[in-house]
């Protein structure tokens, strides 16, 4: 029987090598052997995705590889997540996410969504080509802490400014994350956003950073 450490490594390697079968088997073994599923998500799957982020940054992996790694991660997450015990009286953090109207691209959006899935957020995915007011409505309906918007083109990017204004007017505490090819740090700042990622690949890097932060917090016993 494989040890916990071996299973964590199998999960991590399976994500890095986009081997969905390996990840599925290891995840099932974690459940069958009664190991901690949350630890397997964070120190197995998310750890693997961290390595993938590094490979992308060093131009060893490109978006196709990252997408296949994401598939492998989801294969494991689907098995492990239902076994994570819910803590009493604690509500999960929520995020509203989508590509803005006029934009039918959602690769970057889906990669960021994966990060929130890993971190155990309740994700309200509005999909793509989302009318601007729907972001505001969904935030008000769910009281989500984060709204994440993606735009691939300059034309659609401009719509995000409006959404930020509408949301911040009603609820200044909502954190806003922007992503997409035309979005730069300057644009994000100008629009009043709290975070940004400029491409699908960057979205992964941003996601990795957030996952890494979460893992550190978890190690420190804060989560």
């Amino acid at each position: 029987m494989a040890s916990k450490e071996e299973l964590l490594k199998a999960l991590s390697d399976g994500v890095v090598n986009y081997n969905e079968d390996q990840v599925r088997e290891a995840a099932q073994a974690v459940v069958d052997n009664g190991h901690d599923p949350l630890e397997a998500i964070m120190d197995g799957l998310a750890h693997g995705m961290e390595i993938v982020g590094g490979l992308y940054e060093r131009n060893e992996y490109f978006v196709p590889e990252v997408l296949m790694c994401a598939d492998a991660l989801y294969a494991g997450l689907g098995i492990l997540r239902p076994h994570v015990p819910k803590k009493e009286g604690e509500s999960k953090a929520q995020v509203v996410i989508g590509s803005v109207q006029g934009d039918v691209h959602d690769i970057g959006k889906n990669l960021v969504k994966m990060m929130f899935d890993v971190a155990g957020f309740t994700v309200h995915d509005l999909g793509r080509d989302v009318p601007l007011e729907n972001f505001v409505k969904e935030q008000l309906r769910t009281d989500a802490e984060i709204v994440a918007m993606s735009a691939m083109m300059t034309t659609t990017m401009l719509g995000m400014r409006k959404v930020i204004q509408m949301i911040k007017e009603k609820n200044p505490n909502v954190a806003i994350m922007l992503g997409g090819a035309p979005v730069t740090k300057d644009v994000a700042k100008l629009f009043g956003a709290d975070g940004y990622a400029e491409s699908a690949g960057n979205a992964v890097e941003e996601a990795i950073k957030m996952i890494a932060r979460l893992r550190e917090m978890r190690a420190a016993g804060q989560v």
Binding site: G102, V104, I107, D129, T154, T155, T156, G159, S199, A200
Partner: protein
């Protein structure tokens, strides 16, 4: 600026009028009236503009492609550059210009005339072929924002289903493009008409889900190759039809293969041979444009057989010029949001930005992508003026000057 009142025309528009006056007395008369109404000396203005414009825009661009000495630096594009002042002047809504050949032509003509661009480009959106292949488009007619048509749901779910109709030029809105080209040639013969086609990989992302194709590059390579070949044949045929309709130059744009998406290795193995095949089948002049990260690709781009290379703001132009040498025509690359659109960008900042663009070694100033229609007029006019004055004052790396 109120376009109905000649008194408010800035001098760049006067220049534009003078450009049209080459061969047309009526426009020259109009230019004289405009000058007088602004208290400017018409002779002086016309002399200045004649000095600036020995060629019509068409002569200028055709000479550019032949690398012959020019009167000034061209400002033009291989991609859409329709602007809202033209659409408003014509009394159209943005959503209406994509479905009517005359509106398409008029909005393109007036965008170039009002802003002083050196070419007229049609069409604007990227859904023409995918719509002709049976997909429904969203026109966003009810939106207050300027949104290009999109394909919200793709009818084909797998690569096996893709079937490209033989008569694609007769389907959907496709017949409007040759018609618009012909209207432009009749009504604005002094301008070169630019047409474009998406490259096979980007087009594949218009008819199928992009993430599926990206993954299939690894998982189902043969199928991807087969799909790209089918699309390559289609792109060749459509490009030839647009050239037959009178397009004076054509741009192959393949943004979906930039190095922030695909590896240079995949570009070399899968994309480059097909771009080469397309460019070989089209007449000159032809431009190859890729936006996104192109620094690792420019040398391969240059081997694809285009007459000129065009890149966007993510490209390090100075390095690219070093890699390609001074004989290659290089166009680009200003940021289409930061310089002409961003409310906070002053005219002075736009001018400085274009000077940096020119100093980086381009032979013509070209937007890095489709021009965003909601430009600030004063910034756009200053960008064109700076291209003429600053860029025209000295030779560019590949093209000399007459004076």
């Amino acid at each position: 600026m109120n376009l109905d009142d000649p008194k408010q025309y800035p001098s760049v528009v006067l220049l534009g009028l003078r450009l049209q006056a080459v061969g047309g007395d009526i426009m020259e008369r109009e230019a004289r009236i405009c000058c007088s109404s602004q208290g400017l000396d018409p002779e002086d203005q016309i002399e200045r503009s004649v000095f600036m414009s020995e060629f019509t825009p068409k002569e200028r661009i055709m000479r550019l492609f032949r690398r012959e000495p020019l009167d000034t630096m061209p400002f033009f594009s291989g991609m859409g550059m329709v602007v809202m002042p033209a659409i408003k002047k014509l009394g159209y809504h943005f959503a209406q210009v994509h479905t009517d050949a005359n509106r398409l032509a008029q909005s393109a003509i007036w965008s170039s005339k009002l802003m002083g661009f050196d070419s007229i480009v049609v069409p604007y959106d990227m859904c023409w072929e995918s719509e002709a292949m049976g997909n429904k488009i969203s026109l966003y007619e009810d939106s207050e924002d300027i949104l290009y048509p999109t394909i919200p749901e793709k009818r084909w779910k797998s690569m096996d289903e893709v079937e490209i109709p033989e008569n694609i030029m007769e389907l959907g809105r496709m017949p409007l493009i040759p018609k618009a080209i012909q209207i432009i040639k009749q009504e604005a013969p002094e301008y070169p008409v630019g047409a474009w086609q998406l490259g096979p990989f980007t087009q594949a992302g218009q008819i199928l889900e992009l993430d599926m194709i990206l993954k299939a590059v690894f998982k189902q390579r043969e199928k991807v190759e087969e799909l790209l070949d089918k699309l390559t044949d289609m792109i060749i045929k459509i490009g030839q039809a647009l050239q037959a309709a009178g397009a004076d130059y054509i741009t192959l744009r393949e943004p979906g293969v930039a190095a922030d998406l695909l590896s240079p290795k995949t570009f070399r193995e899968m994309i480059k041979p097909r771009l080469t095949r397309i460019l070989a089948a089209w007449e000159s002049p032809k431009i190859l444009h890729i936006c996104g990260q192109t620094d690792p690709l420019v040398e391969m781009m240059n081997e694809c057989g285009a007459d000129a290379i065009s890149v966007d703001i993510k490209n390090n132009l100075v390095e690219t010029r070093k890699k390609l040498g001074n004989n290659v025509l290089l166009f680009g690359n200003f940021d289409v949001f930061a310089l002409p659109c961003k409310a906070e960008t002053t005219v002075e900042q736009a001018v400085e930005g274009i000077k940096v663009n020119i100093d980086s070694g381009v032979d013509a100033v070209m937007p890095g992508c489709d021009l965003w229609p909601d430009i600030k007029e004063e910034n756009m006019l200053a960008i064109v003026k700076t291209t003429r004055e600053y860029g025209g004052a000295r030779p560019s790396p590949a093209v000399g000057r007459l004076h």
